[in-house]
């Protein structure tokens, strides 16, 4: 009688270590299900459209976009903030939940880290193509130059560059570090070019017990360091706005507001991806309804932070006794963009409350619908903050509405396509859930619970080189 999997209380069904490995490597080793082909094809077409829109932007200029005076930040910055927010669930799950010993994150962290990587890549393209002189993008980096150029480090825009670069690097390292043991196993199980690819990428990982010990220590250290970064990145993004004097932007509550919004939208996007994925790949035993329930709770908690700030914004606009602030608030609620504002309120304040009730939270269909709605709601929030604020500043003579062009829309749909295509390729190459679960989680790091699966590694008798 084979032993049950050590994480049997977190996953569903009678799994042994070996049967779970077989199951988790299926997406890589077996031909993909039909929905995978559809997602990959749609993603690829949209990626091509995206490249075309970038080509148009570079050859014809920013005049092809809908931005105007005073709405100089349009869809590009809306989507930049939206994507960065989505990118927050991955590192939150990898880092903060590791430190809090939330072992259920083991089923989810790989796919959300991949999501983070592509979301941040999508986000980073927007400021780059918005620069106008995109060929000089490297001027935003501090480097010795004969022109004695140096970034203005008192500007949040410069902080943003480094915050996002750091975040991208750390997320990639997290994803890669988690992948190394999986890659070693795939190296031993595959043939041909795949064997070569996994061989190179696994860096010659042997699975020695000593290596595992250092690996786990490094993993927790990275988690500890990444935790403040998760919070800092969207706080820095919020300061891009809060440092400006535009009514509706100049608020000290922006950093916590943006951090909560990022976690909320990140978890919403993670649910949108995970619910179909577990169905298509029959991973219901690994990503169980309990996992979804827990994710629903995190979504509710972070969403409540967002809803609270919406209400506080109204109060502060009135309490500040600043005519432009109050006029901005009324413009949002009653102006031509009011439907966007009220739709945002409906989703992120009213519909969010359904997650209090287990009946709704444990209903996978509703959770899926709500996760899509929450993505839309967060998109609307970014639209409210960026576009509506700019369209109504101080002098009525300057007010101007914004309407996006087809290039703006193609850039948005294109990043969505690139996101889906990238994830589809990644799932085909790397298992969507790490098979060596308990070794990467903190159960084996000083807690009372032993990690039985770690006994299957190589204790070495003699030190040879650095083994």
């Amino acid at each position: 009688m084979p032993e049950r999997h050590p994480d049997h209380d977190l996953i569903q069904g009678e799994w042994t270590e070996r049967s779970l490995v077989e199951k988790l490597l299926e997406p890589v080793e077996k031909p993909p299900p039909r929905p995978w082909k559809v997602v990959a094809a749609v993603g690829f077409v949209l990626t091509l459209a995206w490249l075309y829109a970038i080509f148009v932007t570079f050859t014809k200029g920013l005049g092809t976009w809908g931005i105007n005076q005073p709405v100089l930040w349009g869809f590009d910055i809306v989507h930049f903030v939206w994507w960065i927010g989505i990118g927050h669930a991955g590192t939150l799950i990898s880092a903060i939940l590791v430190l809090m010993r939330q072992n259920w994150r083991d089923s989810l962290n790989r796919i959300t880290e991949a999501m983070t990587l592509f979301a941040v890549l999508c986000a980073a393209t927007y400021p780059l193509i918005h620069m106008g002189r995109a060929q000089h993008f490297y001027w935003i980096l501090p480097y010795p130059t004969h022109m004695a150029l140096w970034p203005q480090y008192k500007s949040p825009l410069s902080w943003d560059v480094l915050a996002i670069f750091t975040y991208l690097t750390i997320s990639t390292l997290f994803l890669y570090l988690g992948l190394i043991p999986d890659l070693a196993l795939l190296r031993e199980r595959s043939q041909g070019w795949r064997k070569k690819l996994y061989g190179w990428l696994s860096l010659g990982w042997t699975g020695s017990a000593l290596h595992w010990r250092r690996y786990r220590a490094a993993y927790v250290l990275l988690a500890g360091l990444a935790t403040p970064v998760v919070i800092s990145v969207h706080s820095v993004v919020s300061m891009d706005f809060a440092y400006g004097v535009v009514p509706g932007w100049h608020l000290t509550l922006f950093p916590p507001f943006f951090a909560a919004g990022a976690i909320y939208s990140g978890f919403a996007m993670a649910l949108t991806l995970l619910i179909p994925l577990r169905k298509w790949y029959r991973l219901e035993g690994v990503i169980t309804e309990r996992h979804l329930d827990w994710m629903g709770k995190v979504t509710l908690a972070s969403g409540l932070g967002v809803a609270y700030t919406y209400l506080l914004e109204i109060f502060i606009a009135w309490y500040s006794a600043e005519p432009a602030e109050w006029a901005q608030q009324l413009w949002r609620m009653t102006g031509p963009y009011a439907p966007y504002y009220w739709a945002m309120m409906l989703i992120n304040v009213v519909l969010l409350q359904t997650l209090w009730f287990p009946r709704f939270r444990r209903n996978v269909a509703w959770l899926f619908v709500f996760s899509i709605l929450a993505n839309v709601g967060m998109w609307l929030e970014r639209f409210v903050i960026v576009v509506i604020s700019l369209s109504h500043d101080f002098l009525p003579g300057n007010f101007h509405l914004y309407s996006p062009t087809w290039v703006d829309w193609t850039l948005f749909l294109g990043t969505l396509g690139f996101f889906l295509f990238g994830l589809a390729v990644l799932i085909r190459l790397f298992p969507p859930s790490p098979w060596r679960r308990c070794c990467t989680s903190t159960t084996s790091l000083g807690s009372t619970r032993e990690a039985p699966c770690c006994t299957g590694t190589w204790p070495t008798l003699t030190r040879r080189r650095s083994f």
Binding site: T16, E17, R18, V21, Y153, K154, P156, S158, W159, L162, A163, F165, T166, T169, I170, L173, L177, A184, L185, E188, R189, L203, G204, W205, T206, G207, S208, L210, H211, R214, Y215, A218, L221, L222, L225, A226, P228, V229, S232, V236, W435, C453, T455, G456, T457, W458, P459, T460, L461, T462, R464, R465, S466, F467
Partner: protein
């Protein structure tokens, strides 16, 4: 008094360097990247990667004795395989 404005960048660069440093130091300590370890030549290595315990005894130890080691491990009920560097 402009120093607070420099804190975000200082913070991000600190984290960036430490993180990359930890990752590279982990690789250094573990002797990675490594082209091939002789252990992978063992026929049942793949199982050891998943759920079987395995013990690897290096022949480079000056006190290594192939016969005595094999006898000891066999006496303890292990399957013994000899792998040589390809």
């Amino acid at each position: 008094m402009g120093w607070p404005a420099f804190i975000p960048v200082t913070f991000e660069i600190t984290i960036l360097t430490i993180t990359v440093g930890i990752f590279l130091y982990l690789l250094y300590l573990n002797g990675l990247p490594l082209a091939a370890h002789p252990a992978v030549l063992a026929p049942r290595y793949r199982e050891a990667l998943v759920d079987r315990p395995a013990l690897f005894v290096y022949a480079t130890d000056p006190r290594f004795d192939p016969e005595a080691t094999r006898d000891l491990l066999r006496a303890l009920g292990a399957e013994v395989e000899e792998v040589r560097r390809a």
